[in-house]
Symmetry: D2
Subunit: 290 residues, 4 copies
């Protein structure tokens, strides 16, 4: 295809996501604040490292940044050309998606909030789940550009809906994580072997992505590999709570979860994997989940 | 084999579990308080409906009753013979398992706490997860009698450990259920289509047995089929909390979950499926999870 | 004195507060959306019912409205004259106080957030606690105008500080209210006479304004007189939670309180006294706190 | 009077409580595990230090021990004589009161659960609140013996009712303590001076024994004087939760409070005053409540 694609933000996720694009597109521009990383990407995957002014003039622009704040800063300073579609894969704020969609509409362009789930391994394999909010026509047009790194690619509603689903997904992850920590500590304190218990629960109704993946691959083995930082999970749970509060909904369990994750975040190193939230709980009980 | 097997308690689970035993054993005795059900089972599966005195004198006795209270009542009134193994599939209280194991030991018999997970469908297919606490030799001896209805059959620790794992499993189920209700209501209040959101979350890190099975098969379709009653889930969450409190563990998230489930239980009809706990939450928000 | 005073918003609180002003000031202007009430006030207390344009041109303008939204609407449409001091007795939003203070500063005027505590009885007696945020000089100048209805009049910090203290005060009221409901229900379920228990607790370390006043005067006697509406308490707890979240603070107990009060609010008639929040809890336990 | 009085347990409370008895009674026997303390009391207040066998044969026996466990141990080993009244001022377990009352009844004696509130200062001044459960006749007979150290002396119900009221009182203290910590930290994070805020709240509806006494006298001044140990408050909140659970009551706010206090307890030195529970919260927020 002759359309130009740009990818802005080559972090742990973005770097891998952008690596799939050259298979389907001739011209893939990449930009990163630490520009050396963009150049490394270019040499590794035959993309083109360009300046931000150039990147933002592509036909389809992906962004994958820490928060909506960074996305808004770039979009408002370097608005895309008319007809362009901006696909923001950040785990962002629904309100910001609405604002950016309106802002781009005034420039004749489109904004899709398109956060992803599947972690670095999914980014590497190109099997990410992509949950998308915004204009359906723009969604259809951008679909083939998302496909290279996407597994399930789903339009879930108007602007902000993608971010909302992602925030709630991560909130459920957080709730399952903390509940699992409390539950398995209770078992250990009662003399139950955790590996046997885990096998039973993973064959039962209490299982979740946390018991199937996070607990065995990150916690029980005490590795806590940094692939999704705890401050980002804390941010996402905060987004979910904001959504509930704007709708005047009581959410006692999610609010408590958010408070616990935020406490873990405040008392942890910023470079901690989200799974290390359980270490706060371990410090209370003096029992290691292993 | 010439050993005799008895099955006590032919409720929704027990009736189906006992149906598999005649494939492996010549003599399968069944008993049920409402005796007509035992006779029906006998005619349907070639088991023998017998009185409680006879049933409790089998070599291996299974029980599957509402709570540990009913189990203790039968065992203390009709203790099994020396050498017998009592396999209690009730979702019972760990403390009671310790007490019953000691009581049977005085009669030269064995008590295994062997609760099951997998619901009526798993009981029907004979693929239940069985988590077992108690004497390892008795476990090995009873193994082949459990196999007909078991998928994963796992020894998880001393007496009470099986009940503990089951209680924690059901507590995690409860936490996931309530968190999911809050999360999906938040999405609906923000204009997101729940079926699309569910598809994304089931392909993401927030998934659980609740999002994969309970939500689509019981809640979103508004069927709430009664296969596991809410009062029993409330009881199980109470058991898990007791385990935590005996160990002096703080469990803020599980405690809140137990309180919410108990509130749902107190305000629901006793014949409600566990999934209908979400109806309490719906009554607060005036938003149906559908 | 020859300075002119205006009072905007003659609700249950404002009507009584404004009634004290003519003792100290010759000219007291009053305005109310339902203007008949202003006229009634004028005839009852020798104030002057005027239109909003006139009221907002007084030297000192008091406002006492449901929320900051109504205050902002009036201030931005009818900004006061240079040198004027606007004393807002609404239980408002700290962020709004900062915004209004800045807006009035541009007009050479001052904004004090000056919420009150003491309910209608305190307004009637002129013994309200007034917690004030904003410019200290404006505070000193306005002091004598606040005195007629104030008991304790306290400057607590910059713009927004008054609203913040009020929001936290009401959050503590809410927490004490709900905790008291749970505690006294626990006692009643255990056969304790609530009046005797109350007497003991009011002579002990568990006492609060709730046990000393709200429980005996509103709940135990089943009167729930409407003097402070539940939706307003729900709003105030929301303001307190927003303050915590902006500061990235975990507040597990206050968050749960806010969720419970909001649940009570959603399931109650809008014309319910704040004390009737306990009726939600009573509906769960089927035990009346009486 | 010629009746003999004994006081068992001369801790921080008991030592002071027993000091008032000689004013009204000729013969006051005292016993303490660390016997030197009994001898010191005897020399200081003209009581008689006696062995436990002698003490338990008095007409009225007071006990003031850490928990019901110690009380039961002494009573069952040294049952009082027929007609005696045992007045247990421990903050004990309601179930234990029922058991001890039944046990003493078999010996023709009486057990009153009579926990006290008012701390060491109230014990010193003889103004303690005494909340009493058990036989009303025994209560009337024991009244004059309680009076020397009691302010409000109140019969609140059958055996266990006194302990229940005390447990709920201390639970409310705990809830107010933690809520106040969260609330005042929120104010400080928003730039409000805590002393001014405290003055306003103590003149408003959010006040409690915590804001009136604990916060200014123990926390804001950073003294945390050890007069009521945190492990005892944790124990009392546990008693209150047990009462709720036996009655199948949901108590979300009290459960969370108990979990937070227990977390503070697990992470604190055993010799910490109850007020130092807030230090756990301070460690989360990195903001000192001062």
């Amino acid at each position: 295809m002759s359309i130009s694609i740009a990818f802005i933000g080559l972090g742990a996720m973005g770097y891998r996501m952008a690596s799939h694009l050259p298979k389907s597109f001739e011209q893939v521009l990449v930009w990163n604040r630490n520009f050396a990383k963009a150049e490394q990407h270019a040499s590794e995957y035959s993309t083109q490292a360009v300046d931000i002014e150039t990147a933002t003039q592509a036909d389809i622009i992906f962004s994958c940044l820490p928060t909506s704040v960074e996305v808004e800063a770039i979009i408002t300073q370097y608005p895309p050309k008319s007809g362009a579609i901006w696909v923001d894969c950040t785990s962002g704020v629904p309100e910001s998606a609405v604002k950016m969609a309106k802002f781009l509409q005034e420039h004749g362009a489109y904004f899709l909030d398109a956060p992803v789930s599947g972690q670095t391994i999914g980014a590497e394999k190109g099997t990410l789940t992509v949950m998308i909010g915004g204009d359906t026509k723009a969604f259809e047009q951008a679909y083939s550009a998302i496909e290279p790194f996407g597994g399930l690619i789903k339009h879930v509603g108007d602007s902000g809906a993608g971010f909302a689903v992602k925030a709630v997904n991560n909130m459920l992850l957080a709730a399952n994580l903390w509940a699992t920590a409390e539950g398995f500590t209770t078992l250990k304190a009662n003399g139950v072997d955790l590996n046997n218990a885990l096998e039973c629960i993973n064959a039962s109704s209490g299982k979740s992505a946390v018991t199937e993946m996070v607990l065995p691959q990150r916690i029980l083995n005490r590795e806590f590999p940094l692939t999704f930082a705890l401050p980002l999970l804390a941010k996402d749970t905060g987004i979910a709570i904001s959504l509930a509060q704007q709708a005047k909904l009581p959410t006692p369990l999610l609010s408590l979860t958010q408070n616990l994750i935020q406490t873990a975040n405040l008392t942890s190193d910023a470079e901690s994997d989200f799974s290390s939230a359980v270490k706060l709980y371990e410090s209370w009980t003096n029992i290691k989940i292993e």
